[in-house]
Assembly symmetry: C2
Homo-oligomer: 79 residues x 2
């Protein structure tokens, strides 16, 4: 078994209203110094050792992210 983390973020040119809402709220709440916030998704997968990187790439592109508006990173982590 291996643990795989896939982080999915809106592409830089895509508006991110959730992140902007947090970024705009923080100064009102007394927290200054945060210039930007962007929000995405974080997936943690438990996969058999038989699952190779190519399969993980297909899973991420096809089912975890929307390639039109999102970019993603895949990394294996020690469980």
């Amino acid at each position: 078994m291996a643990r795989v983390v896939v982080d999915v973020m809106p592409k830089p040119e895509i508006l991110d209203p959730q992140g902007q809402a947090v970024a705009r709220a923080l100064p009102r709440l007394g927290f200054s110094g945060v210039a930007d916030v962007r929000q995405g998704k974080h997936f943690e997968l438990e996969v058999d050792d038989s699952v190779d990187d190519e399969t993980l790439a297909k899973i991420a592109e096809g089912f975890l992210a929307n390639p039109v508006i999102e970019q993603w990173t895949i990394r294996r982590v020690d469980a």
Copy 2:
């Protein structure tokens, strides 16, 4: 400026219907070997160097996560 990543995940004892939906769909779609999927949130913050770890902890706990049902990690990354 520093980049900070906050990953927010449902606590282990909390059901995660989004992650379960992905995990159950994958075998039907031809991808075997994925035993579990859990879905959370991934935040990327651009912060001034004046923002210390204590402030980041307050921001994460108060505004990025729900401490009742979620756990989170905070890490500074090289921009």
